[in-house]
């Protein structure tokens, strides 16, 4: 085991408070990444690093009904990741510091990562 990576699952409305605690502890925002776990169920991981101690906040959302609040008013650099999550997965994120409105990546397909997996290589 290289390092332990505790993951705390938070609800959407508690997300910003949890992030504020991280900010107060001077944690560095390492990444925000989304994973599609099932149809209409997406996990978003917010990873932080406090002096080489890694930790995660995780929210589980349904893009059809949930609107994720942006944390870019706390961690300014989060808008990069949030635009990425929005472009690739089609998750609505509100209040990003710079909103590229779906033009962060120039792609032929809209929200490619939300599409079902392509046909498998035989």
């Amino acid at each position: 085991m290289i390092e332990s990576q505790p993951t705390e699952i938070v609800t959407l409305d508690r997300l910003k408070d949890a992030v504020r605690i991280k900010w107060a502890a001077h944690a560095r925002l390492v990444q925000i990444g989304c994973t599609k776990t099932a149809e209409d169920q997406y996990e978003i991981n917010y990873s932080f690093d406090e002096n080489l101690k890694f930790s995660n906040l995780r929210i589980v959302v349904n893009p059809a009904t949930d609107r994720v609040p942006s944390i870019s008013d706390i961690y300014w650099n989060a808008f990069f990741y949030e635009n990425e999550v929005h472009d690739l997965f089609g998750i609505t994120i509100e209040g990003m510091a710079i909103d590229f409105k779906g033009n962060f990546y120039r792609m032929a397909v809209k929200h490619p990562f939300a599409a079902p997996a392509g046909q498998k290589k035989s």
Binding site: M1, I2, E3, Q5, W23, H26, R28, L29, V30, Q31, G33, C34, T35, K36, T37, N45, S47, D49, N51, L52, F54, N56, Y75, W76, N77, F79, F80, Y81, D87, I98, F100, N103, F104, Y105, R106, M107, P112, F113, A117, G118, K120, K121
Partner: protein, 359 residues
């Protein structure tokens, strides 16, 4: 009284062969705001995990970026090994460390050359790359590729190097260190270099941390964070002290990178002294089931591989966060207040690699 104008920077710009576009809002000669736009070369490599099985994907991971190729492959393998609970043989770990440090030397020499080119010191650029060529020769000899090493695989490495050859390389590096020093001393002492780098784009310690900067960018601002401290590969036995600089400007980033070149040489020599004998790989059975965030220190900074397997031969999700992605917001914050002429070199000091940023 001054009027605001917008100057587009990129996507094609002589200083950077990769497409990064900035809209620079300028007042007179001073930039007041920069609006980035990337996304010209999104390749969708992360989506490819659904088509390639997890062993094959090593080849894709190695090709996410040309310059950090070795460490990309290694990080991916580490992540999968961690999920599958594989204990990689010691020799493989040491070889990974040695090749990883070689890629750091060649990447930093490449950057030094590009930086010299960006501030118009052509001959220094050529000298940096002349020495880089010798490092590339060692890499090609030991791995078979010049920049795409192709040595990583889940469960170990694909090639071995004899102990005698490693010893010779270690001696060879000592002579190269002298040559590198001759060139890097110019970076550190020459007036014209200092004139272009000192005091440009200062990033304070707090800003660097809270804007999520990584790698030499973060360390040049005085934050001692280096993922090698986590002790992956052989860094457990070969402790690394992060190299920091307090200035936070372009010159500081240059100094950090130069010192890291010599640190890398030192690490290789220590690793060669300690490398254990034994097998270089192990048999891998079964499929990964679980998740892990693999973190390693690339020449450009911390890279993150989020790997999630669901017990089949295809991974469910693989996400890469490359160092440039993390460094771009930080550089955007330091651009306001700089003069237009400083933007190219300022951007270059994060060692941008856009194609791996967008994957």
């Amino acid at each position: 009284m001054s009027k605001r104008t917008i100057i587009p920077f990129g996507p094609q710009h002589p200083v950077l062969p990769e497409p990064l576009h900035l809209d620079l809002v300028v007042e007179d000669e001073i930039v007041v705001e920069a609006v980035p736009s990337i996304g010209f070369i999104h390749r969708g490599l992360e989506k490819l995990v659904e088509k390639k099985d997890f062993n094959e994907f090593v080849y894709v991971a190695e090709r996410i970026c040309g310059i950090c190729s070795c460490i990309h492959g290694m990080t991916y393998c580490q992540g999968v090994e961690e999920i599958m609970n594989l204990q990689v043989p010691g020799r493989a770990k040491y070889l990974r460390t040695i090749w990883g440090e070689f890629s750091r030397i060649h990447s930093h020499l490449l950057w030094l050359g590009l930086a010299a080119d960006a501030f118009g010191f052509e001959s220094l650029f050529m000298h940096s790359w002349r020495i880089r060529e010798k490092i590339l020769d060692i890499i090609e000899e030991t791995t078979g590729g010049r920049v795409i090493f192709g040595t990583s695989k889940v469960g170990g490495v694909r090639r071995d190097v004899t102990n005698e050859r490693l010893k010779e390389i270690s001696v060879l590096l000592k002579t190269y260190a002298g040559e590198i020093k001759e060139v890097t001393d110019i970076f550190l002492n020459d007036n014209s270099v200092k004139h272009r780098l000192c005091g440009v784009g200062v990033l304070s310690k707090d800003d660097a941390l809270m804007l999520g900067a990584v790698g030499p960018m973060l360390r040049a601002s005085g934050v001692a964070q280096d993922m090698r401290k986590l002790g992956y590969a052989a860094y457990n036995d070969i402790p690394v002290e992060p190299i920091i600089d307090q200035s936070g400007d372009c010159y500081g980033r240059c100094v950090v990178r130069i010192k890291e070149v010599f640190q890398a040489i030192d690490i290789i020599q220590r690793a060669v002294d300690k490398i254990p004998d034994g097998p270089i790989d192990m048999k891998v059975t079964g499929f990964p089931n679980g998740e892990f965030f693999a973190r390693t220190e690339q020449p450009r900074g911390e890279v993150i591989y989020y790997i999630r397997g669901n017990g089949t031969k295809h991974l469910q999700r693989m996400r890469v966060r490359t160092p440039t992605f993390a460094n771009l917001p930080a550089i955007l914050k330091v651009i306001p207040g700089c003069s237009v002429a400083d933007i190219p070199i300022l951007l270059l000091t994060i060692d941008p690699c856009i194609s791996c940023t967008e994957r």
